[in-house]
Subunit: 227 residues, 2 copies
Amino acid sequence: MHDSPEPGLRERKRAQTAEAIHMAAAELALERGLDATTIDAISERADVSTRTFFNYFSSKEDAVLGIDETAVSLELERVRDYEGDVLASTFDLIYALFEASGGGQKNKALTRAVIKKHPQLMTRQMVRVAELEDRLSAIVAGWLSSEAAFAADSDEARLDEARVILGICLATVRVSMKRWAMHGDADPGATGAASAPSPSPSGAPADPRQTYERAIASLKTVLEKLS
Amino acid sequence: MHDSPEPGLRERKRAQTAEAIHMAAAELALERGLDATTIDAISERADVSTRTFFNYFSSKEDAVLGIDETAVSLELERVRDYEGDVLASTFDLIYALFEASGGGQKNKALTRAVIKKHPQLMTRQMVRVAELEDRLSAIVAGWLSSEAAFAADSDEARLDEARVILGICLATVRVSMKRWAMHGDADPGATGAASAPSPSPSGAPADPRQTYERAIASLKTVLEKLS
DNA sequence: CTGCATTATTTCACTCTCTGCATTTTTACA
DNA sequence: TGTAAAAATGCAGAGAGTGAAATAATGCAG
C-alpha cells in the first residue's frame, strides 16, 4: 500500500479533507440516525462548504461509508497473485474492495458501527459491486483461464461464468455480513459450517475478515449439500 | 391470478391509475431516456398530480418498472408447492417476484424494452430482492426442512443456508438478465451451458422465463466445475 | 335518492439532494 | 516571486420527496 515516497501537501490535504468529511458523516449518522443527518450538517461539522462535500463524495451514503472511488480504482488495477482457489481469491477481491472504504485508520470501527445501525448501507455496498461488475468479473475470468475445468470455454463463456462466481461469493459475503451486523460475534457452527471445522474461536471480535473466512466454509458446505 | 369476482369500482380505478402512471413512465423513459424523464412529465402524461404519483409509486424507477408492493406481498403470501428441487423452486420464486412488476398486460414488452435501455433498473430489481430477503429466505428455509441434507441443521443455520442459496440464484438470474439485456437473444451455449443441452432453440424471443431456465443450467454447470 | 363515512386527489408549502457556473483562494513549480 | 493548475466557495436552480389541509369521488345504509 505504499503509494509514492512523497504524497505532497496537496494530496495530503485532500486525503485529510476526505477523512474529515467521512468522520463527520459517520459520527452524525451514529448520533442522530442516517435519515436525520443532512449534508449541510455533515459539511458544517467537517468545516467545508456543501459544495465541497460533493467534490469528495457523490452522496451521503458514500460519505458515511468513506467510499473513495480513486482508491477503488487503484485497488482494482493492482496485480493480483492467483493462488489456485477461485472462490478464495474472489472473496479476497471482494474483501479488498470493501476495505477500500472506511478511511485509512482504525476509525473503521466507527464505520462498522454505523453499518450495524443502518443495514441499508450494506445494500449500498452490494450496489457498488454490481456497478463494478464488469471490471471484477474480468479479473475473475482471467483466473479461470488457468483452471482446467474452464480452460476449454470461450472467452465469453468464461466471462459469464466469472460473473456467476462473483455473484455467488458476493451473496455469501452478504449473508456473512448480515449475520455479523446482527450479532457482532457469531456462533461458530451456526453459519452452516456445522460439518466443517470453524477456523475461528467463538466469541471472536467483529472482524469482517474472519467473517469472510467463515463465509467460504459456509458456501462450500452449502454447495456440497446441494450436489 | 383471479383475485375476487367483484374488484369494485374503487379498486378498478386504482389499478387503472397505477397502470396509466406506469405506462406513462415507461413510455417517457423509452422516448427521452430515464434521466431526462421527470416525475412532473410522467404525472402530466398520466393526467394526475405529482402528489398522486407518490401515492402510487415511491420513485421514478418503481413507476417505470411498475412495481406494485401490494402485488408483491400477495405473491409472497401465496402458498407454494415445493417440487423437490431447491434451486429450481428458488428460481421460480424470484421469477414470480419479478413478474409482480410490469403491469398486467402485454405492455410488459414495453417495460422490458426500457430495462434494456437502462440496465440500472435491473440493479433496482436486485435491491428489491435484497430488501425482501428476510421473507424470501424464510420461504426457502421452509423448503430446506424437507431436504435430507439440511434436515439436521438448526432453524437458524437453515435460514442462513437459505440466504446463501437465495443469493446464489439471484446472482445467476442477474447474469442471465444482463446477457438478455445486452443481446435480446443469446447464443444457447454461451452461458456456460456448453456441456449441458440447451432447452431453447437459438434466436428465441427475449423471454425472461427461458432466461431463467438457462440460468439454472448455467449455475449447475459452474457448480460442477468448481467442485 | 339522500346523507354520511371513507378513501382519493389535489394544492400548497417546504426540506433536501445534487449540478453547473463563475469567483476566489490555495498549492505547485519554474 | 510570479504564474498556472487545482481546489474551495457562493449562488442559482432543477428535481425528488413529504406532511397537512382542503376538496372531490366513492361506498353504503337507510
